[in-house]
């Protein structure tokens, strides 16, 4: 009945949605952010531990939400670990484009492997009301890195 939805709900999404990685509170985090999707009630909290050189040494999150938002957050924490803050911001930007258009024209660059991994979420672009589920984690990461103390919103 739902076979054609396997593009959106690929096995990797269902797996990360069911068993999100890095789903824990990070004690002694250097950065912290909160994200909220007021329309559907998705909420998440994200912690970042920075290495002495400023790279993202560890990233973890906790929250409640749909399979797309949980899987996106889970994949994100794995993808940005070890990256510089600048690289993490670039990934956030490219991911947003991927989620909105399904394509990632600039993805042939140095972050190609990472973007390839995130392509699993590209199917979301066909579902305009679900794009914000996928991008919530990345908004939250940006908010954490800016450390503005403001809550990130997908709206």
């Amino acid at each position: 009945m739902f076979d054609d939805l396997r593009d959106l709900y690929q096995e990797v999404i269902l797996d990360h949605g069911r068993k999100p990685r890095n789903f824990r509170r990070l004690e002694e985090a250097d950065r912290e952010g909160r994200g909220d999707n007021p329309m559907c009630g998705d909420r998440m909290q994200l912690w970042v531990k920075l290495a002495p050189d400023g790279r993202l040494a560890d990233v973890a999150f906790q929250g409640k939400g749909c399979a797309i938002s949980m899987a996106s957050a889970s994949l994100m924490t794995e993808t940005v670990r070890g990256k510089t803050q600048e690289e993490a911001r670039t990934l956030a930007e490219k991911f947003r484009e991927l989620a909105m258009t399904g394509t990632c024209p600039d993805c042939g660059g140095v972050l190609e492997d990472e973007m390839e991994r995130l392509q699993a979420l590209g199917g979301v672009h066909e579902f305009p009301s679900r794009v914000k589920c996928a991008t919530l984690a990345w908004h939250t990461l940006n908010a954490a890195l800016e450390n503005t103390g403001k809550e990130a919103s997908s709206e």
Partner: protein, 413 residues
């Protein structure tokens, strides 16, 4: 209304009145189960509004020329139709607003600040739509009104003992509760609530946004003091709502919005308000929408509210037989007296994922918290999907929903 039969109710014929129901969604037949959010429109409503704009449109209550007089007559005829629909004692008790939300805000502002005194209380319930909660929270902050909240039982019914306990000290000036929950489907015992409220010196406002669509409403028989509903859930247009209030209450209330049409005299120093209901209808009203609402009322009354209720009772029985049988499905609320609104959750799928799946097979349901966040907290659920029925809903659609839910659970494994 046991024993009511609906011999003339032919759902297949009724569906032909709704052009959108023959649309395809992603190649599938549309199964529209979100009428509780906003209902689809029959051709009779669409045509009445178009005809008015093409042949009889001008502003109302202003011109001394033919078209304005015709538009005014159409607008006032809509008011008479609403009065008949609610069995109001007088058409002057009908105030047109932009929506149910606007109507409740009107009462919260005008009755809340103009009649209620600081130190008095307003009693709502845990199952209110945000539209019947936030205006009272705003009143509390602005005017020193205490806000009390009556509990909802685990079955999703209003806890009448708690209502009575919260009325006991006589401080409650207004009880404002839903006539039918937009999440649980629960129909509240309106006449009983009116008696309870009045016995303790309080007035009763009923939010009929859902109830007025599914059952005949007789405000005099119910004994309430204010009743609100909206056009777009009643197969009419958006942009129009109704406040009914007892004449002596409306007359005692100060105006809400100021502007044209709500005055009888204006000088640079001040104004005299117009009589009810014009006092509450500042500015150009929703004229075309009133004509659409009139057509919608004629439409449902032509079918018969009793027939609609009987049809929906079949659908409710079907849903109660089929939905709880779906593996892993939890239904929120199991009130004895209920209408065709079902909020549910699957144990292995988030509401939004589920809604996306259902959409793929043509089924439109709402997902989230349905403007009732505190109620979801009350039942300990983050979000739900909600299927809500209209007069055009069929038993086959209910079966199809149940089948799709079973398949969706398998999909998420």
């Amino acid at each position: 209304m046991d024993g009511v039969v609906a011999p003339s109710f032919d759902v297949a014929r009724i569906r032909q009145d709704f052009p959108i129901l023959s649309e395809k969604v992603r190649g599938k037949d549309l199964v529209f189960l979100d009428s509780g959010a906003s209902a689809q429109k029959p051709r009779q409503v669409i045509q009445a509004m178009t005809r008015m704009m093409e042949t009889a449109y001008a502003n109302v209550h202003r011109g001394a020329y033919h078209l304005s007089e015709a538009a005014t007559e159409a607008y006032e005829a809509a008011r008479r139709a609403v009065a008949g629909f609610l069995n109001a004692a007088s058409e002057r008790e009908i105030v047109f607003t932009g929506s149910s939300t606007n109507a409740i805000n009107l009462v919260a502002h005008s009755y809340g600040r103009g009649v209620l005194k600081p130190g008095q209380a307003v009693l709502v319930s845990e199952m209110e739509h945000h539209a019947n909660l936030v205006p009272w929270q705003m009143l509390k902050a602005a005017h020193g009104i205490e806000l009390r909240v009556a509990r909802v039982t685990d079955a999703g019914e209003l806890d009448l003992e708690d209502v009575e306990a919260k009325l006991a000290d006589g401080k409650v000036g207004l009880v404002a509760v839903t006539h039918m929950s937009n999440v649980l489907g629960t129909v509240t015992p309106a006449a009983r609530l009116a008696a309870l409220a009045h016995a303790h010196g309080a007035r009763l406002l009923l939010d009929g946004s859902q109830a007025a669509v599914h059952r005949a409403v007789d405000v005099q028989a119910l004994g309430c003091d204010f009743y609100v509903f909206t056009g777009h859930k009643l197969y009419g247009p958006t942009g129009i709502g109704v406040l009914w209030g007892r004449m002596e209450l409306l007359e005692a209330m100060p105006p809400f919005l100021g502007g044209g049409d709500m005055i009888s005299e204006v000088t640079l120093e001040g104004f005299l308000p117009a009589p009810v209901p014009a006092k509450f209808e500042a500015g150009t009203p929703p004229i075309i929408e009133a004509v659409g609402l009139h057509a919608a009322i004629d439409y449902v009354r032509g079918i018969g509210m009793a027939s609609i209720e009987a049809h929906e009772r079949h659908l409710v029985d079907r849903a109660m037989a089929r939905l709880p049988a779906v593996d892993g499905l939890t239904l929120i609320g199991r009130a004895q007296d209920r209408g065709g609104v079902f909020a549910f959750a699957l144990d292995n799928a988030h509401a939004h994922d589920l809604a996306t799946l259902l959409d793929r097979v043509g089924i439109a349901v709402r997902s989230g918290r349905h403007c009732a966040e505190p109620l979801h907290a009350r039942f300990g659920v983050e979000s739900t999907c909600r299927a809500s029925f209209g007069l055009y809903t069929t038993e086959a659609e209910v079966d199809y929903l149940a089948e799709a839910l079973g398949k969706a659970r398998e999909f998420f494994g």
